[in-house]
């Protein structure tokens, strides 16, 4: 009895290994399809990038300028706004990431998520595609911020390596936080909605 069972097991492992390239291709295609949709959305609301940039810029200029004159708080930096800039960039990226988590809740409440889950798209591809969308949004905001910094003459160290490094970190960080918020948000929402929902038919 055990020999055929072992055979079946070996067969399924072999099958899984053989289907690996196919899976990788599906994951790539799925991620690309989701990413493509996110890019298209960004193109439609490109104004959104600017309106979303207002808040970080307010932080930078209102708080940054105000605190610059307080030497205890600003720690004796030559330009407190330059010190604040990376943090503001990260904060804006975090907002983008949280927004993607909320987006998943919204998509579940309308039928979009169910529909997506019933397509052959790999689950991981859906998440990765959305996360890359979040990263690209954060990148767009970072570019606006950097442009404002340059125009306003706030002297950060403009070394290509450092700026490039910061952007790579920003992309990876935003994608990671977007994944985290996509994991957390639906489970939080389920907890808060459970008082009202018995079952859904």
């Amino acid at each position: 009895m055990s020999a055929p069972a072992a055979d079946v097991h070996a067969g399924s492992v072999e099958l899984a290994l053989r289907s690996l390239p196919g899976r990788a291709a599906r994951l790539r295609d799925g991620t690309l399809a989701m990413g493509w949709a996110e890019l298209r959305k960004l193109r439609h609301d490109h104004l959104d990038i600017f309106t979303r940039s207002v808040q970080p810029l307010l932080w930078l200029f209102v708080f940054g300028t105000a605190l610059q004159h307080n030497h205890t708080l600003s720690g004796g930096f030559h330009d407190y706004r330059a010190y604040l800039a990376p943090g503001v960039m990260a904060q804006a990226a975090l907002f983008v990431a949280i927004f993607f988590g909320l987006g998943v809740i919204w998509e579940r409440d309308v039928g979009q998520l169910q529909r997506l889950l019933a397509t052959p798209l790999p689950r991981l591809g859906i998440v990765l595609g959305k996360a890359s969308g979040a990263a690209i949004r954060a990148l767009a905001q970072a570019i606006v911020l950097l442009a404002v910094l340059a125009v306003a003459g706030i002297s950060i160290r403009w070394s290509p390596l450092r700026v490039g490094g910061a952007i790579v970190l920003l992309l990876v960080g935003t994608a990671g936080f977007a994944c985290l918020s996509m994991i957390l948000a639906p489970s939080c929402a389920r907890a808060s909605a459970s008082w009202a929902s018995g079952s859904s038919s």
Binding site: D29, G30, L32, A33, W36, A37, R40, K41, H44, D45, D109, V110, G111, Q112, Q114, R115, L116, L117, A118, T119, P120, L121, A193, A196, S197, G198, S199, S200, S201
Partner: protein
């Protein structure tokens, strides 16, 4: 009895549901449902809210795992071969599934990609769907600006791109005017003739079910209360219209199913769909 002996059947019976049970905590939403749908058939699931129609469809589209029983779609087990099932089906849920931040055309393109329509055929398939569902006038408009009828037609168009073997439509004609409704059914008939697509549809519209479905299952309390062709059902209960069958079977009770969230969602939806 074994799966092997049943295998030849499975190809013809595109949907095979056997003793399906789904529980949400204490509540048994689907309590031992069994039915079969033959290839090319239009099969209607009727029943009051909370009867378990949508839950059954959610199991068949691999979104929910059943607690007991088995279900095969297009010859694949919905639990163990989820991917194969998802590759063979099209699904239009009750709630709006179009991405409001994309244009109608982009939605078509996205679902073409998502359902694995080969790149070379995508343009052609989209053009066909646009023609069939008469979407040409609003292809460049964002999803969130479309009216209810436009949304439904677009949704059905996105589900048809892949020419699925089985199409699951959850209340497809809610919010559609009679003209649009006719358009939808006409397209489904064409698809059935051309590609042999099997359609499993839930509806509240008795008249529509009577006219369009080959066979009907009336569900109540998570079980199938009556099953047969519209004529058979009318004959069996000795009533002139399917609506009377419905009342007879479900006991004419007022519907009590559906949670607060369902009600909120469906009200929001009907407001949206107008």
């Amino acid at each position: 009895m074994s799966a092997v002996a049943r295998a030849p059947d499975r190809a013809e019976r595109v949907v095979l549901v056997d003793g399906l049970v789904v529980r949400f905590g204490e509540v048994e939403a689907v309590a031992g449902v069994s039915f079969e749908v033959a290839a090319g058939e239009v099969f209607g699931l009727l029943g009051p809210n909370g009867a378990g129609k949508t839950t059954t469809i959610r199991v068949l589209t691999t979104l929910l795992k059943p607690a007991e029983g088995s279900a095969f779609v297009a010859g694949h087990d919905v639990v163990r071969e989820g991917l194969a099932v998802r590759q063979a089906i099209g699904y239009v849920p009750q709630a709006i599934s179009i991405d409001g931040a994309l244009t109608a055309y982009e939605n078509l393109e996205f679902y073409g990609r998502a359902t694995g329509v080969p790149r070379g055929e995508r343009r052609e398939r989209i053009a066909e769907a646009v023609e069939a569902m008469q979407l040409a006038s609003f292809l460049d408009r964002l999803g969130r600006t479309l009216s209810g009828g436009m949304l439904r037609r677009l949704e059905i168009a996105t589900a048809l791109l892949k020419q699925p073997r089985v199409l699951f439509l959850d209340e497809p004609t809610v919010g559609l005017d009679p003209t649009a409704r006719r358009l939808v059914w006409k397209r489904l008939e064409v698809l059935r003739a051309e590609a042999g697509t099997t359609v499993l549809v839930t509806t509240h519209q008795m008249e529509e079910a009577e006219r369009q479905c080959d066979r009907i299952a009336v569900m109540d309390h998570g079980a199938i209360a009556a099953l047969g062709s519209p004529q058979e059902l009318r004959g069996r209960f000795g009533v002139p219209a399917l609506e009377d069958v419905f009342t007879e079977v479900t006991g004419g009770r007022l519907e009590e199913g559906g949670s607060f969230r369902d009600v909120r969602a469906s009200r929001r939806r009907s407001r949206r769909l107008g």
